[in-house]
């Protein structure tokens, strides 16, 4: 039972942060493509800004790993 709840928690951590990343990247990506259309030299800057919201899902993944391997191992 407890292991099942931990698995649900880990899934939610990755799922919700994944949605949040997508939500943030939607606007950043659109703006980056817009800027690059006008000035292709902005590709590098656009790419960096585009991947920044990815950190949100990475944090979610870290939380999920901790839940499964640290909390899950002690159950």
């Amino acid at each position: 039972m407890e292991l099942g709840l931990i698995a649900i928690g880990a899934g939610l951590a990755v799922g919700i942060t994944g949605l949040a990343s997508g939500w943030a990247e939607k606007d950043v990506g659109a703006a980056a493509v817009g800027a690059m259309t006008e000035d292709p030299s902005l590709f590098g800057k656009g790419m960096i800004l585009m991947v920044l919201p990815e950190t949100i899902v990475i944090f979610g993944l870290v939380v999920a790993i901790l839940l499964i391997f640290v909390t899950g191992a002690s159950v």
Partner: protein
């Protein structure tokens, strides 16, 4: 959840604003105008042909030269920019921009109607069109191909969703005087522009305020110009556009009835842009400087608002105002140099 609102959604603000900001970064600065004042007309043509106007200068260089080339190339460039921005926007944002750019449809309609009433041929009229609004070149050419002015008015009403009052049309048919028709279109434009803005969010409320201030400025300009011509009272009130922010009917009447230009300017003391007019008055005491002062104030307002709400319609309108201003400044320099005006006089006319 994903920002959809109404038929076309809220609009693609991040994409459109990023593109517009990149375009705005390429606009000319104050130093460039000073440099252009030192050039001859062919040098200006070459200079703008090497900056953002290369495509238009290259396309038109075979047909025009001197000041005509600069005028046609700048207007054509502005039309391409504005239509480009309109084409990449969607939803509510597109609707708001289309309503803002309707002023160019009105401009083109006036050009066509005036050209036809003076018996000009279609090719000459076509050269003066600026297809920067909702109506593209094809739609304008369809209007141009019509024989009678009545047909053009009816067709414009259909394509631009304007309902002309029947008494206005019959008055025009009798007198062939375009001024009342033009006045009606101007009022209708601001009315539909204000109606296109949904003031439910802070940026759109700011945009609405901005348009209402533009109405104030247009009204003040009209009052002062008519006053300088010696026209006062009710005759002036006919041309006042309703919906202004600070100038209501009472203040407009007061201004219209003022004894002189300086008395009218004193009545404007409580208004936001008074300081800009006051400075202009101290310098030269001319209507031209007062109008330039108001335009400077208006441009400054757009710039301030655009920094407050980066993901709204305001940065796009700010770009359009600056682009139009750049085109006007280049035309002022070209016309001024062509007329042999002194560089200092031309500089005073520029809105920087």
């Amino acid at each position: 959840m994903f920002g959809r609102k109404g038929k076309g959604g809220k609009g693609n603000y991040p994409y459109a604003v990023a593109r517009v900001k990149a375009k705005k970064a390429q606009l000319m600065g104050e130093d460039t105008y000073s440099k252009m004042l030192m050039m001859s007309l062919p040098e200006i043509s070459r200079f703008i042909g090497e900056s953002g106007y290369q495509k238009e200068i290259a396309a038109l260089a075979g047909r025009y030269d001197g000041v005509d080339l600069i005028e046609h190339a700048t207007y054509s460039n502005m039309a391409n920019y504005f239509r480009g921005v309109l084409d990449v926007t969607t939803g509510e944002l597109h609707e708001m921009l289309a309503a803002y750019l309707e002023k160019w449809d009105i401009w083109n309609f006036k050009v066509i109607l005036r050209g036809k009433s003076f018996g000009m041929d279609a090719d000459s009229i076509k050269e003066d069109l600026v297809p920067a609004g909702k109506l593209d070149q094809q739609a304008l050419e369809r209007l141009l191909s019509m024989e009678s002015e009545e047909e053009i008015i009816a067709a414009y009403g259909r394509v631009a969703n304007v309902i002309f009052p029947t008494e206005l049309i019959s008055a025009y048919e009798e007198s062939r005087n375009l001024s009342e028709l033009e006045d009606f279109l101007e009022k209708d434009h601001y009315d539909s522009l204000l109606r296109s803005i949904d003031p439910s969010s802070r940026p759109t409320r700011l945009y609405q305020d901005y348009i209402r201030k533009e109405i104030d400025i247009t009204n003040v300009e009209t009052i002062l110009k008519l006053k300088a011509e010696g026209i006062r009272g009710e005759e002036v009130m006919k041309y006042i556009i309703p919906g202004g922010k600070q100038i209501d009917k009472k203040l407009a009447t007061q201004l219209a009835n003022a004894e002189s230009l300086s008395a009218a300017v004193n009545d404007l003391a409580p208004l936001d842009f008074y300081d800009d007019i006051k400075n202009a008055l101290d310098e030269t005491n001319s209507l031209r400087s007062i109008v330039a002062g108001m335009k400077k104030y208006h441009i400054r307002q757009a710039k301030t608002f655009s920094h407050l709400y980066p993901l709204s319609v305001i940065p796009i309108i700010d770009f359009m105002i600056h682009k139009e201003n750049e085109v006007n400044n280049i035309r002022i320099i070209a016309r001024g140099l062509n007329s042999g005006l002194d560089a200092d006089v031309i500089k005073e006319l520029l809105v920087i």
